[in-house]
Amino acid sequence: MIGRVAARWLAPALLVAVSALTGCASDANSQQSHDTGDLSMPGTSMPEMSMPEMSMPEMSGAGAPDAPVAGAQGRVPQFLVECPYSHALADDPIVFPGRPGSSHMHVFFGNDSTNAASTLESLEAGTSLCDQRLDRASYWAPALFDGETMLTPSKSVAYYRPGAGVDPTTVQPYPPGLKMIAGDAGAQGVQSTAVVAWTCGTGIARDALPPTCPVHRPMRMLVTFPDCWDGTNLDSADHHSHVAYSSGGTCPSTHPVPVPQLQFSVVYAFSGDPSGLQLASGPITTGHADFFNAWDPAKLRSEIDACIHRDVVCGVTSGRK
């Protein structure tokens, strides 16, 4: 059920305030008006996982992220996965596992089985809708509204690249079951375009707010995920602390494992005046996205070996499509 705009905004805003007071869960996409009490750590599949202290969303460990490489495709190695829109649910298997209907509305891509009950095992048993069927990962983002109308995305594109300046040969696969959130669902103002940006088509411009896009260049929300992992935890209490952004081509000592930098693009067949756009998580500035890794491990390693390590472009998404 799509709530009214005010309700969609107020609940996350209230809970951002709660988070600020308690130092708890920074991802406001976890919050909804009827569910404010339990921000406990979701389960993980790593038995000896350490529990980093909860902190605010800026805790990425390496300071402000470097801008990802933009421009014409072909400059940096990559492989990519394009997925049609799958479904929408008020579920969030990272922040509200096992609690259907507890989140704001999300649009899901990739694994068609994703819901609040999703686990690594359930995703591995699910089906990918993408052009890379061995990518059974789940990707999701807050639903986008134009006024009261929820916009159905046309597709998503997941670009997997080395982080800017990172030695491609050092990039390691994500561990199975890794969960990540990029962007700040409680952002009170615009976010760095190095993390959340809006574009028309595949042009070089990266805007903090949605631009006015022409009909033939669909609007995209582009979210760049951390590319360094702490090597131990599949998740963390705030869902951020176990991963970090590289800086100057180097991962921080606290997060020493380079992993692919996932740039996740949600594509909307929307053109024209963007002033009425809002996200289910709140104002349009609250852009973020979630990733739950369930790639076939051997295929993911194969793609990283063949494309990233060998510094080869294994696919592009055409600006002509």
Binding site: A72, Q132, R133, C307, H309, R310, G319, R320
Partner: protein, 502 residues
């Protein structure tokens, strides 16, 4: 126009064994002729035959150690032949076991694999082009993908039902695809990207929403497409930002939304598209309303040979007929929200190897849109009939057409846009005998507002091709890696084709 150069790739026999990927999960690796076989991936982990999803793997005792050079079933190196499935149960296992110079020879059967090749100078050949089939079952991505491995030749195989491409080379110097059939694949049929010194010949591409054949992102490409048939695709041929010793010759492009469509755009590297030579092709009936099609294919629908922002292309001695719009059209490509400014004229000849290292532009300096006009193309000695808007045409979106430097001469045609085009823009610097560029203009801008039959599902919309010719002596010919490509091209000897059935 003559071109007798022959190019040789230095045989850098670098072993990439240490980089070998585990692709055992990329497919199920079981030819249908061996229903009880268990199979092994490059890591020696056995995979089991699976059902229709074609993607499951299961741990089981290994029956073959294909990467073990001591295995008697995996002789390789020095031009050895590795038979599939006799020596290695899967194509991927054979490729992983092979050394540079080896021949991977594949028996007839249906192989549910997505093969990644990372070893240089291999020859991968099917015994029977029509019966040695890689089938992605709409679950696997590429039939055979050559990633950064120079000199790999693929021959006499069919790849169908892949979510991305049938045959794909990327980031290589030296590639050859001969006697290949690619159909019903989700992106391209036969695809070379950021690659040089290549040849695609005697092959078939059908039923792809993008192009049956594509060579893009290279200058000078030094590549040849010769004797191919491309039909029922969104585009028969597409080449973005490619050219320079790039020849498309002696081929048939028919029943696509649009036929041969090279174009420029800053969404990929190496812009603009330039210096592609298109000679001796039969291009007809590219109005097909029921194919899969990307947006550009819809926009270009009804055109035979369409340069969209191309520079310095030679379009000669082609037979072009039965198109709803143009036979040969030179039009602009309007790129909205580009990635860069348009290169200046004096930098059109810069090799791609140089431009890829250019610094990124300041996004604030990049305009909201770039109009890639078609400049300095030569349209000469083509035979054109029944192209219902114009047999030959040139247009822009605001640029003075007289300044574009295109030339038209010696064509057999009835209609042109603008009128008297050969008089307006004669070849070889001859003085124009007409000056009115406004009468009978093409109005390409109007195309943007047109609607076309929507793209069809690539998994169901294209017909299966008839049986195709086999490479001679497939079972006995020695390995022939792509170290001597492209073959010499004598464009002067090519004549206008005769109409099929006449």
């Amino acid at each position: 126009m003559n071109r007798f150069g022959r190019f040789f790739v230095a045989a850098a026999l670098l072993s990439v064994a240490g980089c070998s990927s585990d692709s055992s999960s990329s497919g199920t690796n079981v030819p249908s002729t061996s229903p009880t076989a268990t199979t092994a991936g490059s890591n020696g982990v056995t995979t089991a035959p699976v059902g229709s999803s074609g993607t499951n793997t299961t741990d089981a005792p290994s029956t073959v150690q294909p990467s073990d050079p001591t295995s008697p079933s995996a002789p390789s190196g020095d031009g050895a032949t590795i038979n599939v499935p006799d020596d290695q149960p899967t194509i991927q296992a054979a490729v992983d076991a092979a050394k540079p110079g080896d021949l991977v020879l594949i028996q007839p059967g249906t192989y549910h694999e997505a093969v990644t090749v990372e070893t240089e100078n291999l020859t991968i050949r099917g015994i029977d082009r029509n019966a040695t089939v890689l089938d992605g079952q709409f679950a696997l991505d590429n039939g055979i993908r050559v990633v950064g491995a120079n000199g790999v030749a693929i021959e006499n195989l069919t790849a169908r039902n892949y979510t991305k491409n049938g045959f794909f080379w990327t980031g290589v110097t030296g590639y050859r695809g001969s006697y290949l059939t690619a159909f019903r694949n989700g992106d391209y049929g036969v695809y070379a990207f950021l690659s040089y010194e290549g040849q695609l010949d005697h092959s078939y591409g059908g039923g792809s929403p993008d192009a049956g054949f594509y060579i893009g992102g290279c200058y000078p490409c030094d590549a040849v497409i010769d004797h191919v048939v491309s039909e029922y695709n969104g585009l028969g041929y597409s080449g973005t930002n490619s050219g320079g010793d790039l020849y498309i010759i002696n081929s048939i492009f028919r029943f696509n939304r649009a036929g041969v469509v090279p174009n420029s755009g800053s969404y990929e590297l190496c812009y603009p598209e330039r210096s592609t030579t298109i000679i001796g092709n039969t291009v007809y009936s590219n109005n097909q309303p029921d194919t899969p099609a990307i947006d550009v294919a819809l926009l270009a629908m009804g055109n035979g040979i369409l340069s969209a922002g191309g520079v310095g292309n030679d379009i000669e001695r082609n037979l072009v007929y039965d198109h709803d719009k143009t036979g040969v059209g030179l039009v602009p490509y309007l790129e909205q929200d580009p990635n860069d400014n348009q290169p200046t004229r004096d930098s059109w000849s810069r090799p791609c190897a140089d431009t890829v290292n250019d610094p990124l532009p300041d996004p604030a300096s990049v305009p909201d849109a770039v109009l890639w006009d078609s400049h300095e193309n030569v349209v000469k000695d083509n035979v054109l009939t029944d192209n219902r808007v114009a047999d030959i045409a040139v247009d822009s979106a605001g640029t003075d057409l007289a300044t574009l430097g295109n030339s038209f001469c010696g064509n057999s045609f009835t209609t042109s846009a603008p009128l008297q085009l050969e008089a307006l823009a004669p070849c070889d610097g001859a003085k124009p005998t007409a000056t009115d560029w406004t009468a009978g203009v093409l109005n390409v801008i109007g195309w943007l507002g047109e609607t076309h039959p929507p793209s069809q599902d690539y998994t169901t919309s294209s017909p299966e091709p008839p049986a195709q010719d086999n490479v001679p002596d497939a079972a006995t010919a020695p390995a022939h890696p792509a170290t001597d490509v492209p073959a010499a091209v004598d464009t002067a000897s090519i004549t206008v084709p005769t109409k099929p059935g006449s």
